[in-house]
C-alpha cells in the first residue's frame, strides 16, 4: 500500500519535472527570440516566468512540509534537501531566459558570425535537458557528463567574449549591440552553471556524496 509520504514525494518529483519542462520551453522560446530577433517571442518568455515563480513557491512549501511532518531519512532526505536547491536553480534559469530574451530586439543587425551564439545556446539547452533527464532517470553517468560539459560552454563563452571585444574595439558602431550580446552569453553561461549545479544535486541524491567543489574533497 503506497504511503501518504510516497504520494507527496511523487508530487515533489512531478512538480520539479513540470518546472523543468517550463524551463526548457523558456529556453526554446529564448533561442527562437534571439534567432528571429523577435520581441513577440521575448514576451512569451516573460509570460512563462510567472509560472516558474508559482512553481517555486509551491514546491518550496511542499519540501518544508515534507521535512517538518515526515522527518525523512536516507534517500528521501537527500531527495528533499537537493530539491530545495534544484528548485531555485530552475527558477533562475527562467530569470536568465528573460534577461536574454529581452535583448533579442537589440542585437540586430548581427554582430557575430552565423552559428557562434546559436551553438552556445544549443549547448546550454542540451545541458539543462540532460541534467533533468539524469534527475528523472536516476542516471549518475549522465549527471557526470553534464558536469564535464560545463567546461565546453565556458570555453565558448571566452571565445565569443574575446571576439565581441575585438569587434567593439574595431567598430564603435557595434559597441551597443556587442554589449547586449556579452550579457546574452553571460546569461547562457550562467544557465549552464545552473544545469551543472542540478547535475551535482542528482549525484548527491544518488550517491550521498557532495559533488561540489571537488578540490576540497581531495584535500579532506
Amino acid at each position: 500500500m503506497p504511503r501518504h509520504f510516497d504520494n507527496d514525494l511523487k508530487d515533489l518529483k512531478d512538480g520539479i519535472l513540470a518546472m523543468a519542462g517550463v524551463a526548457e520551453a523558456m529556453i526554446d522560446l529564448t533561442l527562437q527570440a534571439l534567432g528571429e530577433r523577435s520581441s513577440a517571442k521575448a514576451e512569451e518568455v516573460h509570460g512563462l516566468d510567472r509560472s516558474m515563480d508559482e512553481w517555486e513557491l509551491k514546491l518550496d512549501h511542499l519540501c518544508i512540509d515534507l521535512l517538518a511532518l515526515h522527518a525523512p531519512a536516507a534517500t528521501d532526505l537527500r531527495l528533499i534537501a537537493s530539491s530545495l536547491k534544484i528548485i531555485p536553480e530552475l527558477e533562475r534559469i527562467g530569470d536568465h531566459c528573460c534577461n536574454i530574451a529581452r535583448r533579442a530586439a537589440f542585437v540586430n543587425p548581427p554582430v557575430l558570425p552565423e552559428g557562434h551564439l546559436e551553438r552556445m545556446g544549443q549547448e546550454t539547452r542540451s545541458m539543462v535537458r540532460r541534467a533533468v533527464d539524469a534527475f528523472l532517470g536516476r542516471d549518475a553517468a549522465l549527471a557526470r557528463a553534464v558536469i564535464q560539459n560545463d567546461d565546453a560552454v565556458d570555453e565558448l563563452y571566452s571565445l565569443i567574449y574575446r571576439e565581441l571585444l575585438q569587434r567593439m574595439m574595431a567598430d564603435p558602431l557595434c559597441i551597443e549591440r556587442s554589449s547586449h550580446l556579452i550579457l546574452v552569453i553571460k546569461n547562457w553561461e550562467r544557465i549552464a552553471d545552473q544545469a551543472t549545479n542540478i547535475a551535482e544535486e542528482v549525484l548527491f541524491i544518488l550517491e550521498g556524496r557532495n559533488a561540489k567543489h571537488p578540490y576540497l574533497s581531495r584535500k579532506q
Binding site: 522527518a71 525523512p72 536516507a74 528521501d76 532526505l77 550517491e207 550521498g208
Partner: protein
C-alpha cells in the same frame, strides 16, 4: 569499551540474538534500532547479565568491558550491574522509599552507611541527572509525587549513584512528553562526557539526533552499524534504508 563478540542468546529453544559482534566506543552514545522483536532489548539486557534472572535463557559468545569478559565465572553479577547501569522504559522508582532513599538504594545495598557520604553522592547523582534543583527541597518526599519525566531522571540518578562506566537505556523516553524527552536527551549528551551510553529506541528521530553511532538489528542479526549521520543519510544496506524511511518494520 563495551563490546560483544559472536554473541548468541536464546530462550529455551528460541534463538533471539544470532551471532552479533559489536563495539560500543567509550564516551559515545550508541543507539540500537530495529523492529519489535528483533532482539534490541535482549541484547541490552545481556550487557548487565539480566538474563541470569530469566529461566531458560542461554548466552554464548563474549561480552567484554575494558577487555574483561563480564560472564567470566569469577565475575560477580552484582558488581557487573554496578559498572553497567540500566534505565528502563517505564520509570520504576521504589514507591515506598523517599526520593533520597531511592537515589542511594544501590549504595546502601553495597554496604555504605556513612550519612554524609550518602548525602554527598545523592546530591551529585541528582545534579548529574539534572533533577537536583527540582527536588532538593523535598528529598524526603515520595517519588510518586514526581512527574513521569522527573521519575525517569530519578531512576537515572539512582543508576548514576553507584558510579557506572556504562549506562544502558531501554526506550527511556517512550512514556515521556517531548519536553521531558528533550531533558533526558540533553542529559545523555552531558553523561557522554564520562560514560558510555547505549540506548534502545523505536523513535528514529531520537536515534538520529541523540546518538553518535547507530546499530540496526533485524531478526537477531546485526544488519548495519556506523556513524549515526551516515546511517541516516547514506545507509549502505537497502534493508536499513527501508527501515529508517518507514518502508518496512
Amino acid at each position: 569499551m563495551l563490546a560483544c563478540q559472536d554473541l548468541h542468546i536464546s530462550f529455551d529453544a528460541k534463538a533471539v540474538i544470532a551471532g552479533i559482534s559489536l563495539d560500543f566506543p567509550a564516551r559515545q552514545i550508541t543507539a540500537i534500532i530495529g523492529p519489535s522483536g528483533c532482539g534490541k532489548s535482549t541484547l541490552l539486557r545481556a550487557f548487565n547479565r539480566m538474563h541470569e534472572l530469566t529461566p531458560g535463557a542461554r548466552v554464548r559468545g563474549r561480552i567484554t568491558l575494558a577487555g574483561k569478559d563480564i560472564y567470566d565465572p569469577k565475575e560477580d553479577a552484582v558488581r557487573v550491574r554496578r559498572r553497567i547501569g540500566m534505565v528502563f522504559q517505564k520509570p520504576n522508582p521504589f514507591p515506598t522509599l523517599s526520593i533520597f532513599d531511592n537515589v542511594v538504594a544501590g549504595l546502601r545495598l553495597s554496604g555504605l552507611r556513612n550519612r554524609s557520604l550518602l548525602q554527598g553522592t545523592a546530591e551529585t547523582a541528582l545534579r548529574d541527572a539534572a533533577l537536583w534543583d527540582e527536588v532538593k527541597d523535598r528529598l524526603k518526599g515520595s517519588p510518586m509525587s514526581l512527574s513521569g519525566g522527573q521519575q525517569q531522571r530519578l531512576c537515572i540518578a539512582r543508576a548514576l549513584a553507584v558510579g557506572p562506566e556504562v549506562l544502558l537505556m531501554d526506550e527511556p523516553c517512550s512514556a515521556l512528553d517531548p519536553i521531558a524527552t528533550a531533558k533526558i536527551e540533553e542529559l545523555m549528551f552531558r553523561l557522554r562526557e564520562r560514560l558510555t551510553v547505549v540506548i534502545v529506541t523505536h523513535n528514529m528521530q531520537q536515534a538520529a539526533r541523540a546518538s553518535d553511532r547507530t546499530a540496526f538489528l533485524w531478526m537477531g542479526e546485526l544488519v548495519e552499524t556506523g556513524d549515526t549521520e551516515a546511517i541516516f543519510t547514506t545507509p549502505k544496506k537497502s534493508m536499513t534504508e527501508d527501515y529508517i524511511t518507514g518502508r518496512f518494520g
